[in-house]
Assembly symmetry: C2
Homo-oligomer: 173 residues x 2
């Protein structure tokens, strides 16, 4: 998962959907107008959202998109993961591979931990929360710290050359 403006566009669009789908399928032209996102770009985003199973489409006149699950069952992380395709990190993935010539780099744990930290936040906040402006740190702090499910990959930016020899490092666990 990466945090880019593409992800933000997608979240905005999905929130628009949450707020407008009660009257049936919402077409992209409408979202485009309300959210000031170009239609072509929305098409690109919704292709991914559909492939990711987050929305379903209805074609033809009167068609559009609907959420595929309830708004409180879709997390912000889900949306971002759907649109920002996962570039498989090539190194530094399994503890001892990559980093500095076979040695786990000193900062590996830091980025790992940060990634998990961000993930835990975005995975807890649902579209419903955002739509209701029910987003606060408190919500996250209440989430159980232990027995938290498998740490998911987070990638902060696109070009993540390791601090070393052009190899790739990412905050990926």
């Amino acid at each position: 998962m990466r945090l880019t403006s593409k992800g933000r566009y997608a979240v905005s669009a999905m929130i628009d959907l949450v707020k407008n789908q009660h009257q049936g399928a919402v077409n992209l032209a409408a979202i485009s107008e309300r959210q000031f996102i170009s239609l072509s770009y929305l098409e690109q985003l919704f292709r991914r959202l559909r492939e990711g199973g987050l929305v379903k489409s209805i074609r033809g006149p009167g068609g559009g998109y609907l959420l595929n699950r309830a708004a409180d069952k879709i997390s912000v992380a889900d949306v971002i993961r759907a649109v920002d395709e996962q570039i498989q990190a090539t190194r530094c993935v399994n503890a001892l591979r990559g980093c500095h010539r076979g040695n786990r780099c000193d900062t590996h744990e830091l980025w790992d931990s940060l990634g998990m930290h961000i993930y835990r936040y975005l995975d807890v906040v649902s579209l419903q929360d955002v739509a209701e402006k029910n987003v606060s740190l408190a919500a996250v702090e209440l989430a159980p710290a232990e027995n938290y499910p498998p740490c998911q990959p987070i990638q902060f930016d696109a070009s993540i050359a390791a601090a070393g020899s052009g190899e790739r490092i990412a905050a990926v666990s």
Copy 2:
């Protein structure tokens, strides 16, 4: 603050400094070798670190860099802020400015909150922690949630066009 590989390089270099400065100033050539970061690039990074008051330099033979404060008094956030210069976010900064034509966008709080979340993490972890691999989620969760100091700007990536009309939005508070 932005999360890019430049910041990661800087953190790696600083950790190298933490581990090697006990014998006096550490020169960039040495860091370059150990961390596999090009000398020229290190020069660029350390200029900023020096300007940010995180390191001090000693010129001439035997010279190099030293931390300007104790390792447990420098946070990872300090380092990242020093090297990734702040691009002043033009809109969406003061609650009601920017976003969608004067209206605070629906996702504004989300990014605000996420930014603060990340900041709180990176601000708590010191270079000492990282050097000692003393980095865990627990460490953060122990930090006091309330009365936490002013929320600092976080910017996730470089090109953050708002989901709207090319205006700029950032997770900036």
